[in-house]
Symmetry: C2
Subunit: 346 residues, 2 copies
C-alpha cells in the first residue's frame, strides 16, 4: 500500500538552504480555540503630521523630509551599520569578532501615508522597483559594500512601528549567513548540471501548477514546496537572472504587477492589512559573477488562522528546526481561491 505523504507528519527538504522543514498536516484537524477576529487596522489619512516619513515632516534627528512625490530614500537615522567604523578584529581564544561596516537606508514607497503595496497603482510600484534597482547598483558599487539586503517589515506584529509605506535596505561588507547557505547549493547544482537550481525548480512548478499563486510572462509567485511560514510565498523571474539590476523595463512592470496581485491576495486572506517580512535574495556585490544564482523575493507572513492568530516560531523551532501545521498545497489552494480585487474595493 502506498501512503499519501501529505496526510502524515513528514519533513521536506529545502533545496536552496539544505535544511529540512517539519510539516504536521493532521494538526489542522484540531479544534481551534483561539480568536478569529476581523480587521482592526485603523483607517489611515493620506498625510499624518506626526509621521516622520511623510513629505515635509521633520525627523527626530532634525532632518526635514523633502516634499517628495516619488519613492524617497535616505540614510536610516538609527542605522545598525555605519560606513566609517574603524576596522578592527578581536581574536581571543574561542572568542572572535570583527568590525562590520555598512549603510542602512529607508525607502519610502509613496508620499501617501494611507497606502500599502496592494493599494498602490502598478505604475507607482514600478517606481519602487526602479528605486530598488538604483539603490542596489549604487550601494553595491561602493567600497566595502559586498552585499545589499532589500527588505520590508510590514505591520506592528513584524516590528514595524510606522505604518507609512516603506521598506529598508541594509548593505554591508560581509556576506550574510542566509546568502552563503544559498550560494553553496546554487553552486553545487550548477557545477553538476550546468543549470539553474531555482530555474529548474520553477519549471517543475509551472508544470505541476499546484503551488502557483500568480503568474505572468516574466514572473511567477508560488508557495515553495519547503515553505516554513504558513502562507510563505516566493516570487522569481522565469528568466535566469542573478540580480534585479538585470530587469528591463518590461520586466520591471511585470514584477510590479506580480507584487500588486500577490499582496492583494494576502490582504484578502484575512481581510486585514496583511503583515509580513519580505526580502530580495540576489548576488553579492563583491565583483564576482555568480552565474549559478537565480534571484528571488520571499514573503514570510506570520499569520496562521486569522488577522489575530499567528504561528509562533518558538521552542521546538528555535532549538530543533522549523515546523508548520498546514501543507504548502493547502496554503496554495486557499490563496489561489481568493479574489484578485482588494476587499476594500469590492
Amino acid at each position: 500500500m502506498s501512503h499519501d505523504i501529505n496526510s502524515i507528519p513528514h519533513r521536506r527538504y529545502n533545496i536552496l538552504t539544505g535544511e529540512w522543514i517539519l510539516c504536521s498536516p493532521h494538526r489542522t484537524k484540531r479544534p481551534w480555540q483561539g480568536k478569529t477576529e476581523k480587521d482592526t487596522t485603523p483607517k489611515k489619512e493620506t498625510y499624518d503630521p506626526s509621521c516622520y516619513l511623510c513629505p515635509g515632516n521633520t525627523r527626530s534627528t532634525g532632518d526635514k523630509n523633502p516634499d517628495y512625490k516619488e519613492p524617497y530614500t535616505f540614510i536610516n537615522d538609527f542605522s545598525a551599520l555605519l560606513i566609517d567604523s574603524p576596522m578592527a578584529t578581536q581574536e581571543n581564544g574561542l572568542m572572535k569578532a570583527e568590525t562590520e561596516v555598512g549603510i542602512c537606508k529607508v525607502v519610502c514607497f509613496s508620499p501617501d501615508h494611507s497606502l500599502t503595496l496592494p493599494l498602490m497603482e502598478e505604475e507607482d510600484i514600478t517606481k519602487v522597483v526602479k528605486t530598488w534597482k538604483k539603490e542596489y547598483a549604487e550601494l553595491g558599487s561602493q567600497d566595502n559594500i559586498n552585499y545589499v539586503q532589500i527588505f520590508e517589515n510590514k505591520g506592528a506584529i513584524m516590528g514595524c512601528s510606522n505604518p507609512h509605506p516603506h521598506g529598508q535596505i541594509w548593505s554591508q561588507m560581509s556576506i550574510p549567513t542566509e546568502i552563503e547557505k544559498k550560494s553553496k547549493h546554487f553552486k553545487a547544482y550548477w557545477d553538476k548540471n550546468q543549470s539553474s537550481l531555482l530555474g529548474d525548480y520553477i519549471k517543475q512548478e509551472l508544470e505541476a501548477k499546484e503551488r502557483i499563486i500568480v503568474e505572468n510572462k516574466h514572473f511567477v509567485a508560488l508557495v515553495p514546496y519547503w515553505a516554513v511560514w504558513p502562507y510563505e510565498i516566493m516570487i522569481a523571474p522565469k528568466k535566469h537572472q542573478q540580480h534585479i539590476g538585470q530587469l528591463n523595463q518590461e520586466e520591471e512592470k511585470a514584477f510590479a504587477e506580480i507584487l500588486k496581485k500577490l499582496t492583494i491576495k494576502y490582504d484578502n486572506l484575512f481581510e486585514t492589512s496583511f503583515p509580513y517580512s519580505s526580502g530580495i535574495h540576489q548576488i553579492p556585490t563583491d565583483g564576482s559573477d555568480y552565474p549559478e544564482w537565480h534571484w528571488h523575493m520571499s514573503f514570510y507572513p506570520p499569520l496562521l488562522r486569522s488577522a489575530t492568530v499567528k504561528k509562533f516560531m518558538v521552542g521546538y523551532e528555535m532549538f530543533a528546526g522549523p515546523q508548520r501545521d498546514i501543507t504548502a498545497e493547502q496554503a496554495a489552494k486557499t490563496l489561489q481561491n481568493l479574489s484578485d480585487i482588494h476587499y476594500l474595493k469590492q
Copy 2:
C-alpha cells in the same frame, strides 16, 4: 591606534554553529520612544478549574489528569509528531519529502497552577530535572527515536497559551538542523584538539568572569560571547558530559539551583514573569557515543527594554542573519547586578 570593538558595529562568531551575529552597540544610544510599562502578569490561583493542566481536570480529549503531586508527563493531545505514521518518501525532481515519526509530550512542572520555575522550591525543580532525565532515557530508548528535544515556551509572547508551569518534549527519528550544525563543530574541534569545544570555552569564560551570571560547583550560567537574543543565557555543566542522563544526584541539585537563581534574575530584570523559550541541546539517542558533545541549556528571551518592549527578529534577521542592539557584556552586567531574591518576595 587600537579600537575597542565593543563600541563599534561588529560581528561575532558562534563557535557552536559556525554562524555570525551582527552587534550594533551604538544603537543603545538612541532615544527610546517605546513603552516602558510595569508588570501586567495577573496573579494566579494555585488551582484553576478551567486549566487543562491542573490536577484532576479533564482535557479537551476527555482524558482526565490524575491528582498528581509531582511533575506529571503525558502525550501531547495535539502532537505534531506521531509514532505510528507509515514510512513513506516522496522524491519528485527537486521536491523531496519523507515521513517523520516521533512522540510529543507535555511536562507539568508542578501541580500548583500559580508557580513558575523561579517561584518553585529548589527540591521541586530537582524533581523536574529528574523527570527530564527519565524522559530522555525512556523516549531515547524507543525504536525510531533518535533525538529528544526538551524545551519550554514561557509566556503568551512565546506562543504559550496556558500559564500552568509546564514544558514540552518533542522526540523524533531524524536529527534536527540545529543539532547537526553543532555536532559538526564539536566534532571538528574534538578531532583537532582532543578536547571539548564548549568545555574549553567555559574555562576561558570562568577566567574572564565578564559574562558569568551565576555559578556553582558543577554549573555555570553565562551570556555567550555570540548571544543573539538581548538577554540570552547558556547553562552548561563544568564537567564534560554528553547528556543529562549522566548527572548524578549532587549535579541534579546543582542544576536545579542554577535554574532557580537564573530565572529569579530574569523575573527581576523587568519585574515581570519573564518570557522565554528554553531548550536543552544534547546528544542524539541513535546509539552513537558522540564523545565530542558537551550538553547545555539555552534561554532565548524576547524582551529588550521592558516587560512590553521586545526585540523583533524580522526582515534583516530573517533574510540576512541575527542582529542585536546591546553587547553580550552590557547584558551580562545588567543581569549580574540584579538581586538574587525574587521581586515578589523582597
